[in-house]
């Protein structure tokens, strides 16, 4: 039969609830629904196949969206830059408490395991205990940390770390920044400035897998201000459904690089699109 809107609506409603309960943002779901309707209405399908066709098309649509966002092999990027004699600079940003500092330590661990030399910039010069926290991680990882006093300019600390890396032939600089709400213009200007001063090779947005609709607001604003090139979603081990990944990819068309799956250094898993889609639709 020829598919009409009402044929699709019933099936879409069930899929919509599944996506909502998986923390995909409502505006992303609306957009996916209208894309799907545009594609399917007027096409001819077997009546008993409608539910299946709609579901498969939605899954494919989301899969295509992830493919369009591209793939990033950060380790080979670092290798390429290393061969030019220059250090690779990565900065980490996101709202308060998402796991940026812990993620910086995990990435440092990953790089060290891959035989890269690393220096960490303690560019959160604001929050109580922030410098002590990252300094302890650096100590445990046996890595150099560049830090100044609380209240110092995060851009200056970052630049310091770059100078250190250049003069000591360090392969990679990881810049940990303070948590900030994207609703604070001053703090968003600050992260823009840090990135301008240091010109990172890669900017990573660190988001919380447990966040709901706010993920899309965070991703959109952070991307507008910083043009980050990829994201890491933390706390996936907390039984998060992972819809935040879809929201971020939809609104920024940048890839999810890794998932944080625990509090230890090794708890960083490359994002796998297929197993993600399987857990969402399977």
């Amino acid at each position: 039969k020829e598919l009409k809107e009402k044929d699709i609506d019933a099936v879409l409603f069930e899929l919509e609830v599944a996506l909502l309960e998986s923390d995909v943002a409502t505006e992303v779901i609306d957009s996916l629904k209208s894309d799907l309707k545009q594609k399917l209405i007027g096409t001819t399908v077997e009546k008993e196949q409608i539910a299946n066709i709609v579901k498969q098309n939605l899954r494919q649509h989301i899969s295509n969206m992830f493919d369009a966002a591209g793939k990033v092999d950060i380790l080979s990027n670092i290798e390429k830059k290393k061969n030019t004699g220059e250090p690779y600079i990565i900065s980490f940003m996101g709202i308060n408490g998402t796991g940026k500092t812990t993620t910086v330590a995990k990435v440092a661990y990953l790089l060290r395991e891959n035989k890269f030399s690393v220096v960490i910039a303690a560019a959160d010069t604001y929050r109580a205990g922030a410098i002590e926290q990252i300094t302890e991680h650096a100590k445990r990882l046996n890595l150099k940390i560049i830090a100044q006093n609380y209240g110092s300019d995060p851009a200056a600390v970052s630049r310091d770390a770059v100078l250190y890396a250049k003069s000591h032939k360090i392969d990679c600089i990881l810049i940990d920044t303070a948590g900030r709400m994207q609703t604070s213009k001053n703090l968003m200007d600050q992260i823009s400035k840090i990135n301008k001063v240091v010109n990172p090779d890669f900017k990573i947005f660190v988001g919380d897998s447990l966040a709901g609709n706010d993920t899309i607001n965070q991703a959109r604003e952070f991307h507008q201000y910083t043009k980050f090139e990829g994201s890491i979603l933390t706390k996936s081990d907390a039984d998060a459904r992972g819809g935040a990944a879809i929201s971020i990819v939809k609104v920024t068309s940048t890839p999810i690089l890794y998932l944080g799956v625990g509090q230890e250094y090794k708890d960083l898993k490359p994002f796998d699109k297929d197993s993600f889609l399987e857990s969402l639709f399977g």
Binding site: D23, T26, N96, G129, T135, R140, D239
Partner: protein, 291 residues
């Protein structure tokens, strides 16, 4: 009051000339949309909007109430179901109130401990703090630095990984100094970390707390209910604090903690500074949800 807050959110129906089925359906749809965008638990949203629609269409307004006012009251009743039903905890003067912080990693426990220490001190209570997060690097420094601003003493043992023991030693340390409130900060944990939930049970045994405060990140989505339920089984939750409401999040997800535990929301966090703590106001909160 809450009714007035809802009135503002219901301008469409209140300003209309007449109530008919189409308008009620439209109202239910608008409310559903707003609540879903605010992260309110999906099942709760469908329940609320279904009840709103059915009751608005089928119930006769009580005498003296216009049909419009009746609909506002129905929405008020339905939304009120989102808030906790247990009695709100009241700090008892003249005895020691032990408060245990509980919550997911990064939800704001340490920050809230300092904020609450200052808030309660300003309200006239003698407050002390125990830093029992033995896992996170720099946790004790973070807590001490913040509590210094409130002139509140923090007991902690850098390098001791036994959290229950630190609580025990801390309570002993503060024993004969007539404190009204002792706040106990703990490490973050979630429902899949069974060993950490077990640790929380051990901490509770030693602390024998009068109040367990569940600290919930205001940006949390649909997983809040499940997490809160698991926490409640570990240590019965007597109060909720929703943090980071200065973000763009509406906090609807965090509300599920109230339905999962029955506990009332006591305070909200509205920023990083030690003064950024407010008493919870249902009117403002629901207004933000629907806004």
């Amino acid at each position: 009051n809450l009714k007035n807050g809802l009135r503002a959110a219901l301008k469409k129906i209140v300003n209309s000339s007449g109530i008919d089925e189409a308008l009620i359906k439209e109202l239910a749809k608008d409310i559903q949309r707003a609540l879903l965008q605010s992260d309110v638990n999906v099942k709760l949203v469908f329940e609320i909007t279904k009840n709103l629609e059915e009751r608005s269409l089928n119930e006769t307004p009580p005498p003296g109430l216009s049909r419009k006012d009746h609909i506002v009251k129905i929405l008020y009743d339905e939304l009120a179901k989102l808030l906790g039903t247990e009695k709100q905890y009241e700090f008892q003067p003249g005895k020691l109130n032990k408060v245990l912080m509980l919550g997911i990693q990064g939800s704001g426990k340490t920050t809230i401990t300092a904020k609450l220490a200052k808030f309660l001190t300003k309200s006239g209570y003698r407050v002390a703090v125990i830093g029992a997060d033995t896992f996170r690097p720099g946790a004790l420094t973070q807590l001490k630095t913040m509590c210094e601003k409130a002139n509140v003493e923090v007991y902690g043992e850098e390098g001791n990984s036994d959290s229950p023991q630190i609580v025990k030693n801390g309570l002993k340390h503060f024993e004969n100094s007539n404190f009204d409130v002792i706040l106990i900060d703990t490490a973050g944990r979630h429902k899949e970390e069974k060993d950490l939930l077990e640790e929380m049970k051990q901490i509770s045994k030693v602390a024998n707390q009068d109040l367990t405060l569940l600290i919930i990140d205001g940006t949390i989505g649909q997983q809040c209910y499940n997490q809160a339920e698991a926490f409640h089984k570990t240590a019965p939750v007597g109060g909720i604090i929703i943090t980071k409401l200065d973000s763009s999040a509406k906090g609807g997800g965090a509300l599920a903690a109230a339905s999962a535990t029955g506990a009332q929301i006591m305070y909200i966090g509205t920023g990083e500074r030690i003064d950024d703590l407010e008493k919870f106001s249902p009117t403002r909160f629901v207004g933000r949800l629907l806004g």
